[in-house]
């Protein structure tokens, strides 16, 4: 099925199912610590952005999430840095993940929002649980807005990911997983 033909209800349903499966498979790669394979899912030009969430006055909601143009975010980077993070995780001496935490990515509320040629805009929610050493527990809950791009040879690639974490002051000591 090509995306361009996703104009009937049946085709839209198939596409959504295909995208869901992609996101679940992606989550499994992270949970199974197959970080290099996860890196293969990233488009060369990916923009990976997790803004800081502000408390703002009513009417100023446009300022709620820090922008990528001039402000500071938690993550705001491309593939080179993300692959650097993968290499760091794979050293065995990256202390917040040595020994590895038990991380589980729960991906829900998957919605294909629009289709544009080979690219689809997908919204999904996440609940990331991390349990570390004896009893350290961290929860990350939020929503993502992705642009996924179909590569005819290698399958879906993540071309853009905007991650809205539902926290203001971060209540975890580090981000040592991906979202």
């Amino acid at each position: 099925m090509t995306i361009q033909s996703a104009d009937t209800a049946w085709e839209r349903m198939l596409l959504e199912r295909e995208i869901e499966r992609f996101l679940y498979d992606e989550a499994a790669l992270l949970d199974e610590r197959r970080f290099s394979e996860w890196g293969d899912l990233l488009a060369e030009d990916i923009h990976y952005h997790m803004p800081i969430r502000r408390n703002v006055k009513f009417g100023e909601q446009h300022r709620e999430n820090t922008d990528t143009e001039s402000e500071i975010s938690w993550f705001d980077e491309g593939k080179r840095t993300l692959m650097g993070r993968v290499r760091q995780l794979n050293t065995g001496v990256h202390w917040p993940e040595e020994p590895f935490s038990r991380v589980r990515h729960i991906v829900t509320n998957v919605r294909v929002m629009s289709v544009d040629g080979d690219e689809v805009e997908v919204s999904s929610n996440f609940f990331v649980w991390s349990n570390r050493l004896r009893d350290e527990c961290v929860m990350f809950i939020g929503t993502r807005s992705d642009i996924l791009r179909r590569d005819s040879e290698t399958g879906w690639k993540i071309a853009k990911r905007l991650i809205l974490l539902d926290q203001n002051v971060l209540l975890a000591k580090v981000f040592s997983t991906f979202f």
């Binding site: 800081i52 980077e77 917040p96 002051v169």
Partner: protein, 473 residues
């Protein structure tokens, strides 16, 4: 004098801090009574970094800050004057501002609508006429304002103690170093702004693990940051081993651990063997055009300081007692948040006048280096995190921390009077300097006991302190 702590029998604080032998009780870091005493003795008295004038550029601008455990509002009033207020209504204590930043005409409490002007005056009280019968003196019930505030080359510092010395006197030999941290890359004073907003996160460990380690613990780097070079986060990418710091040209200098034993400020800084500034070395190899800007501003700086020795103000990082670490590109705040929790803040300076592509490149670099997602800093967080719980045990507390690295291997240099230098390899002298000041603050009955500082180890004559236990103090 406040010399006793509660819990497990009254003991003298100095029994816990043996600087002569570099042995420090774990209780200093994990004891709840000591922590409560710190909030009053240290955070109620010291000058604290609150923010930067660029965060409140226009009249009515405000941003929330912290002083110790408590939230403050940094704001610029309608006449352009900067203030620091405690964020609590004088009526029933509600936060009068619950937005991280913004612009306000007034701060109206959402509880009973007491309303304060941006200069802190109470200007509106419901029922003032019909039920307070105009007997409430509004002039006495404005927002609680800090006792003293100082705008130091753009950085905003404040203290709750009216008897604290001037901020310049508080800094002593570190005046030039703080001034440098807020200079633009061409050497222009107050030439920077902060990227917005601050990164703020919770680290489950006592505030001193971060605050007393930074700018004084290079011994940690080889082990803690063993994994960083794999990520090649420096602006030069994988060139020359993928280091995390920008490439820099050599300049005849001696890096050392420099501390004011008297004031508690410390740094990993340099003394220069010749005047002037190092040549620029291209390092932003992955971002076209960025080096051009830094090279041009470096040339201006070289001309400006051609005949000056920039001791303690051209390289490295430093820490202003009690909880502000900084350099010329980042500010690290360690806010106490309970005995076993730190709220860590990161803010980053950049030249006000830099073009957008330069600001963007630097911004991306600081985000991948620092903070909870920082490829470098994330390793620190794990070590500080678990040092705390592993120090809590009844048995663990029988075994003190070792602060003996470089102990008694220090000297003075007449080029930087008032500064103790440890430069024979890694040293924990800067950590000992903070612990020395820590005891003095914890014991002091008032600023009279801790300023002017004691010279040559002797009392300043005004001090009521000094029990003679450790004559080397």
């Amino acid at each position: 004098m406040v010399t006793y702590i509660k819990g497990r029998g009254d003991r003298n604080l100095r029994e816990l801090v043996d600087l002569e032998n570099g042995v420090i009780s774990r209780e200093v870091y994990v004891n709840e009574d000591i922590y409560a005493q710190e909030l009053e003795q240290i955070y109620g008295r010291a000058w604290l970094l609150v923010g930067h004038e660029s965060q409140v550029e226009n009249p009515g601008d405000f941003v929330l800050g912290r002083m110790g455990e408590e939230e403050v509002i940094l704001t610029r009033d309608r006449k352009g004057k900067i203030h620091v207020f405690l964020n609590t209504c004088r009526h029933r204590g509600m936060k009068v501002c619950r937005y991280d930043d913004g612009n306000a005409l007034v701060f109206t409490c959402p509880f009973h609508a007491w309303t304060y002007d941006t200069d802190g005056r109470l200007v509106g009280v419901p029922h003032h006429r019909d039920a307070y019968f105009e007997e409430l003196d509004k002039s006495q019930w404005g927002l609680a304002e800090v006792a003293q505030m100082c705008n130091y080359y753009g950085s905003i510092w404040a203290t709750w103690d009216p008897k604290a010395p001037s901020f310049e006197d508080y800094l002593g030999p570190f005046q030039r170093t703080v001034r440098w941290a807020f200079q633009a890359s061409d050497g222009t004073d107050a030439g920077v702004e902060l990227y917005k907003p601050a990164q703020r996160w919770r680290l489950p460990s006592n505030w001193k693990f971060g605050a007393f380690s930074f700018a004084g613990d290079s011994a940690h780097a080889a082990m803690t940051h063993l994994s960083v070079n794999a990520a090649a986060i420096g602006p030069q990418g994988e060139v020359e081993g993928g280091g995390r710091h920008p490439l820099a040209a050599p300049f005849p200098s001696k890096r050392g651990y420099m501390s004011s034993r008297e004031l508690g400020h410390v740094g990993q800084l340099a003394i220069y063997e010749q005047p002037g500034v190092a040549d620029y070395r291209d390092t932003w190899l992955l971002e076209p055009g960025v080096d051009d800007y830094w090279r041009e501003t470096r040339e201006i700086k070289q001309q400006r300081f051609a005949n000056e020795y920039l001791h303690m103000q051209s390289d490295g990082q430093f820490h202003i007692w009690p909880n502000a670490t900084m350099s010329d590109w980042r500010i690290l705040m360690w806010h106490p948040h309970g005995v076993g929790m730190t709220e860590s803040w990161r803010q980053y300076q950049v030249d006000k006048n830099a073009p957008k592509h330069v600001k963007d490149a630097k911004r991306r670099y600081v985000m991948r280096y620092c903070g909870p997602a920082g490829i470098t800093e994330s390793d620190d967080m794990e070590n500080w995190n678990y040092a705390h719980p592993a120090s809590l045990g009844m048995v663990a507390q029988r075994f003190p921390y070792n602060f003996q690295l470089g102990l008694h291997h220090n000297h003075q240099d007449e080029r930087i009077p008032g500064v103790t230098i440890g430069d024979r390899g890694p040293s924990e002298e800067n950590q000992r300097a903070r612990l020395r000041r820590w005891v003095e603050f914890m014991e002091a009955g008032s600023w009279d006991d801790i300023f002017p500082v004691r010279k040559n180890g002797k009392s300043n004559g005004r001090s009521k302190g000094g029990n003679g236990i450790n004559p080397t103090w």
